[in-house]
Symmetry: C2
Subunit: 260 residues, 2 copies
């Protein structure tokens, strides 16, 4: 059994992501930061509960950030913090929060160190922050990310975004991470829907997701499904997995440990 202190730690910390970029909404660029952020947040004991993708326009950015802050413990944005005219994230967010935009002296110093006498006004744009903001280190290029309390303004380029997240490791208060395990089976998910539902109904502290697949192989299409069991408590997870294995065995379906 988990001890009482563990059991008592039940506060769920939540986060939302606002992805800013016409390039995502037009299909030019495949969004690639959400999964990175989701897995990183889980390690901090924080659940990504919602993500929204908006164009490079002030009003949609403002609305999304304000709504996300109202409903979640932490809010992350990606995109729109570079030096060009389409990078309007800082101004839109400052406007949404009623804050002036100021040049952050430390950000200016970092850009000056990085660019030397090539520090143009365009590059200096990347030192502009909503008043009161702290910087988030950017190990890849000169331009820092921006923290404003529980709001984190990150770059959209995946490698830069991941570098900024790494610098935030352990700095956000969270609860217990979600742990998960996967059982696969070579059967259509509709063949196990009833038993999955019964196992789910027995275990309110776990979530069971069923993810079917169809794969074209030499010998024809292979059909199967992966069942992902998620929980906070290892005992809850183990009990639900045991019940799922038993239910599959009873239905004469071979359970494969791990994702197929």
């Amino acid at each position: 059994m988990a001890d009482d202190a563990d059991r008592a730690d039940t506060r769920i910390w939540t986060a939302a992501l606002v992805v800013i970029g016409d390039e995502i909404l037009t299909g030019r660029t495949q969004e690639a930061n959400l999964a990175t952020l989701a897995r990183w947040l889980n390690l901090q004991g924080i659940r990504l509960r919602r993500a929204e993708i908006v164009p490079d326009e002030a009003e949609p950015i403002r609305n999304a950030v304000v709504a996300a802050l109202a409903a979640h413990d932490y809010v992350f944005t990606t995109g729109g913090i570079g030096p060009t005219h389409d990078d309007i994230t800082v101004d839109a967010i400052a406007g949404a929060l009623g804050l002036p935009v100021v040049v952050h002296p430390e950000a200016e110093a970092r850009l000056r160190a990085h660019y030397g006498d090539r520090l143009t006004p365009a590059r200096l744009r990347m030192a502009r922050v909503p008043q009161g903001a702290e910087l988030i280190d950017n190990p890849e290029t000169g331009a820092p990310g921006i923290r404003l309390g529980r709001l984190f303004i990150l770059a959209g380029v995946p490698k830069i975004m991941a570098g900024m997240l790494a610098g935030l490791d352990g700095k956000l208060e969270g609860g217990r991470p979600v742990i998960s395990a996967t059982i696969g089976a070579w059967c259509p998910e509709s063949a196990v829907a009833d038993l999955l539902g019964r196992v789910q109904a027995q275990f309110s502290a776990v979530q069971i997701g069923s993810y079917p697949f169809w794969r074209q192989r030499e010998r024809g299409v292979e059909i199967g499904a992966n069942f992902v069991v998620r929980a906070v408590d290892p005992q809850d997870l183990a009990a639900a997995l045991d019940a799922l294995r038993a239910a599959l065995a009873e239905a004469n379906i071979t359970a494969v440990e791990g994702e197929i």
Copy 2:
């Protein structure tokens, strides 16, 4: 010059996407339908203006669908229409719209044709629709998608989702598609930020996006940026591209036609 009839056709048709699935928000599964939908919508003359990703829970699904319908011409959902307990999209949407859930006779007939006497109650779940819905053909598996006026409820598995979209080709009223062209340059985007901003300011009917890249090559890191120019009118696009080429030439920066 575009003729007056073309010029007059200025109504912008918009769409929003609601992605439903814990597997996306936990980082297990990379979202892969947004870009497909965005490009397909553009061919229909419809702009994807917003996308939201919500968990497999009734209230977030309801809120997202209702908000999306209020602000866009068309709304698409992906995910949560399979046979298992975690597939709650139909019930959540019916609840949001105050509609009862009914078994669609044609959907039942299709599933019966597909499964024969293997049509279990779980599989029959996939024939449940909000009252008044039409079916969307699914060329991959038996279970259809659902159309309810300007709301389209699609599968989450990318191949199935793409098959459903193909069946909707030409069936949605739209306006003029956005056309685009890309010019690349081997320079940091901060070196061209000012000239890009000046070209953008000259052409209010185009949007210019700047997308930097850093690539690790044998001889070191290669830095560059792609400039995507988007417009509805081919003349507007051509004029902005010419102005961008001229501005790059004036700055002694070689313009590369097409994406680098």
